[in-house]
Every structure is written in C-alpha cells, then in structure tokens.
Symmetry: C2
Subunit: 339 residues, 2 copies
Amino acid sequence: VNRTLVQLLADREQELRTRHGIAFRITGIASRRLGWHADPNGFDATTALSFHSEREGHGFSRAENASKEGGLQPLRGPGVQHWLQAAQADVLFEATSLNVETGQPAIDHIRAAIEHGAHAITANKGPIVHAYRELRDLAAANNKHFLFESTVMDGVPIFSLFDQLPVIHLQGFHGILNSTTNVIISEMENGLTFDESLKKAQSLGIAETDATYDIDGYDAAVKTAALVTVLMDVPIKLEEIEREGIRDLTPYALRNGRRDGWPFKLVCRARRTPTGVQASVRPEKVLITQPMARIAGASSYIYFETDIFPGLAITEENPGLYATAYGMLADFVRAIKSR
Amino acid sequence: VNRTLVQLLADREQELRTRHGIAFRITGIASRRLGWHADPNGFDATTALSFHSEREGHGFSRAENASKEGGLQPLRGPGVQHWLQAAQADVLFEATSLNVETGQPAIDHIRAAIEHGAHAITANKGPIVHAYRELRDLAAANNKHFLFESTVMDGVPIFSLFDQLPVIHLQGFHGILNSTTNVIISEMENGLTFDESLKKAQSLGIAETDATYDIDGYDAAVKTAALVTVLMDVPIKLEEIEREGIRDLTPYALRNGRRDGWPFKLVCRARRTPTGVQASVRPEKVLITQPMARIAGASSYIYFETDIFPGLAITEENPGLYATAYGMLADFVRAIKSR
C-alpha cells in the first residue's frame, strides 16, 4: 500500500500544493526487511519507491516544503521512537500486515507516533479492533489525528461519511467487504475449482500468498468489527462475531445457487440488540434481484440502516489500483487541513 | 422542509448539546403568507411549528444557549435585512420554493444573510444553479458557510462526501434523482394512468400540487446542474442540459419495457468532454440487471465515475420523513463546528 501511496503522492504533489496548500517530503521509511531509515531532508520518490519494493512497511512524511535528497543508511537505534525522532515525522503512514490476535506491532507504532507528536494514518484493521478507544483518546489528548479510512472498502470514505452524519443512529448494516472470497465465489460459479479460483485471485493481486485470513472470513470479520466499533460505538471482540468462511462451498452448490437465482455471497451483518450488537460473517444465499447478488469480483457493497436514512447503500465497483492508497492520501489531507 | 426541521431540531436538541456542544434558539420565522417575525429571545418550538404550518418559509437560529419565549407580532420593516438584524441571526435556513428561471428570491436571502454575518443553509437548488460561485466566494470572504446538502438526494451527504475526496477527479455521473417521476413510472407500470399515478405521488407527499417541474424534467435537470457546477467545477446553464420529461411515456410502453426487462427510468447524466460537460435528463430504457432498474418509488441513486474509484455508487432507499430536513441539520452542525 505505501509503495502505491508514494506513487500517488508524487502524482498529486502539485495539486496538493495548489489546491490544499500542502507540501510534504518523505523523511522516513521502514520495513521488516530493510529496517529503519530516516533523513529529515527527505528521500526522493525514486529512492522511496526502491525502498518500498516489498509488502511490509511504513512511510513518514513531513508536511512542509523541503528539498529532496537521498539517504540510504539504516539507522542504528532502538526502533520506532528513535526512527520517529530521526525522521522528524509529522505524519505516520502505518501499513504493516494484519495481526488478527493482537493488532501488533501496528498499535505500538501508532501509539509511538502520536506520543511523538505525529498524526497516525493506518491501513491496518488490527489497531481498530484491538485498541480503537485507547488510540482515539490518545490522539485527541495530543491534538493529533488517528485515521484509518483505508481499512474498509479500499479507501471509499465510509468513516468520513459518518463524520458528516451528526446525531444519526446507525441500527445495523450488511454488505460484501472481502474481495478475495468474492472473486473465488465468482470464478467457482464459472466452473473453476477452489484452488484455480484462489490462484486467479492471487494473480489479480487481490489475494495474498497466504489467503487464509480471507478464506476463513477473518478479514471480513475484522472489517465488521471495525465498523461496529467505530460507527456503532460498541467495541466488539472478534470472537463475538459469528464467523464462517467459504471452504465448505462446493462448485456444485455455487453453480446451482447462481442457476436458481439465489447465488452465494460471503455476507457481513451487524444489528443492534437490546444488549449490544449481534454480528456475523458467513456465506448466505442472496436473492438475485438484491443488490448484493450483483457485486462481482473485487467490487464491494455496504447497506446502512439509520433512523434518518432507512437504507443508505454504497457500492464500489471495480476498485482502481490506487483506491486503498488514496484512502491514506485522503486521511493525510484531512489530518493536515483540520489541524 | 423547515417545519420538519423544527421538529427534528427539537427532537435532537439534547444530543446536539451533549455530543456537539451546540445549543440554539429559533429567533426568526418568515414566510410569504405570515410575513417576517423575529424575537431575539427565541420562539418556542410549538410557536415555531404553528408558524410553519405552510410550505414557504425560512427559519433562523442563534447557536447559543437561551431561554425560549413566544413572540407573534410581524415586523414592520423593509424585509430580509431588517429581519436578520431583529433576529440577531447566526444561521439562516432558506427553504423558499424553486424558481427555475432566476433562483430568486433565495439568492437575495442568502446574500443578505452572509452579509449580515450568518451562515446560509438552503434546501433550494435555484441559488446553486444561478449564483453558486458568487455565493461561495461571498461566504468565503465573510468567513461564513454556504451549504446546500438538502438540495440533492434528500440530504444524503453527497456534497460533503466530495469534500472528503481531495484531489480526486470526477469524470461523470448518472442516476435517478427525481422521486415524483420515479413514483409515477412505477405506478404506471402497475397499471394506473398518468393522472392516477400523479395523484398517488401527491397523496404520498412526494409530488407538489403543481408537479410540472418534476414531470417535465426541470427538477432533475436543476439537480444535475447543481452536481455539475459544484462537483465538476463547471458552471452549466439549465438550457445547456438536454431535457425531456415523462409526459410522452404511455402506460403501454412502460408496461412493455418492464415486461421485456428494459424498464424506463428518468435518467440524469453528465460527462466531461474536451470542452466542458455534456449533460442530459431524459427517459431511458435500463437493462433490468442494472442497479438503476430496481430504484423504485421515492428511492434515488447516483453513480460517480472518478479517476480513483471507477464506480462509486450511492443508493437511498425509501427516504424517511426527516431525510431532507436532516440535510439542513447536518449542514447546521458542519457550519457551527468548523467555525
């Protein structure tokens, strides 16, 4: 994600300056493989992109005008705090991969960034499920932003939308939020086996090498938990969400479902109850005339039930290459402009 | 709209105070029939509602704590400026009805409010089509807000959504934005005549007594112009939008279209061209599997094409009674909180 973000930032650099008065430089880059790198004078985009030629990583940005110079020596020091100092970071872009059990190390990174005095922007759902209230309150106490628009629906502004809906009451939602399983289901309906469909999703860049989190419904459940926690203001644990993946769906069942006008979808649901929120992620047969039935491939969909708008639905069709990174860029602008 | 807004404000008064730190009192009420009324100490909600028992009108609000007292004598004075002064207005809720040709008197009311030092919130599309840039710039110069979320899709936050999408490029959109014609089409498909369908839309409170603006496509065209002007940053005149209403659609054609899987819909479209924007409002046959085909009754739909999200669609199903007034309330919170 951060690699794409670097490209997007370079692409929109001039527009960010002229339309939003925001200039920036990339002063820190870190990844599991390369270690911690910082240069307060800024890395140039080419250097940053060569750093970012792997999945795991963070980037830092200083929201100021500055010259851009390279710097390639990894820091010797005790890790994230030292790196934040060396980079003189104003904003952290956190993009480590999801740890379903603990949300780490992302939580520590975000906490360190806010305590250092930087806004923290993450594409990682773990910190929301495991530490939302702590990080939100820490950010507020430090007058910084903790933003995470990229975590659900590839940066479509779901959380920001609800920031624009004061005194509204969200009663529940349902939707399709995991692309890998949606692609696999679509391909199996078309006659591929599970393994062939998974390979196709991987070749499209949608599924990761280890797609277990997707296939077993963890990714969808974590997204559901994030939405419940933030938008319904009910912290929900992952284990409280009824979860069933798509491993037991046979090509036969999938093809018959589609043929009969009741295709299978991996559906996320949440609904307020007198005591809290009931939530589930599981394969459901969806009537073909329902909007969810036509969410194909990497598209996604969510339907919100509120007291003002009984049915407010958002569809993202065929997300572009930049969609997730764009969510981080939009968070960046939000953080800087509302300072 | 303002009558419903008064009810909604009363209903959410405590939540506005506790969650957003906003207190208010209604210090001015004006309508064509009743004239101009002001009381800086505030009208109580019952008084305000009895004032508002007709369609045309404005309300004023002071965003402060205050006692609420009645006051029923119309002002003697030269109109809106005098009224703004007498009401000590902080916020104007403008809800006069649409004047397609000139946007008046709403433009004068909004201009007067901003010059007086109040935020201006309107549910009237006319000022956007006829004076958007002037009013936007006037508001900016006076450090006030000019907001109009209620003008399209009943207060679903469309304009606010794009405020959350920095450096994105909107290439075009299509959708169904007029409820009256959508209800009429649905009812005629079900076997009613045009006149019976119109009466039904009127009895549902969707169509006005004079539904000409709806039926001839003016309402949809004005909404299309508002979206093009604000979101695509291209001021477009109404006469530049190709416009065809639903008068020529026969029950026979509508029933056959639905039966054949290509139902008619009154579709709004806009698309960037090398020289500007091309826009139209006209009946189109829509393939039954397309999302627009299932937008029934008072529901609405819009599909945005952007460089980041190739297809970002928003559906509003069965808008609630408060949906339009809620758009004004949400604008109120936006205006006060971002001061």
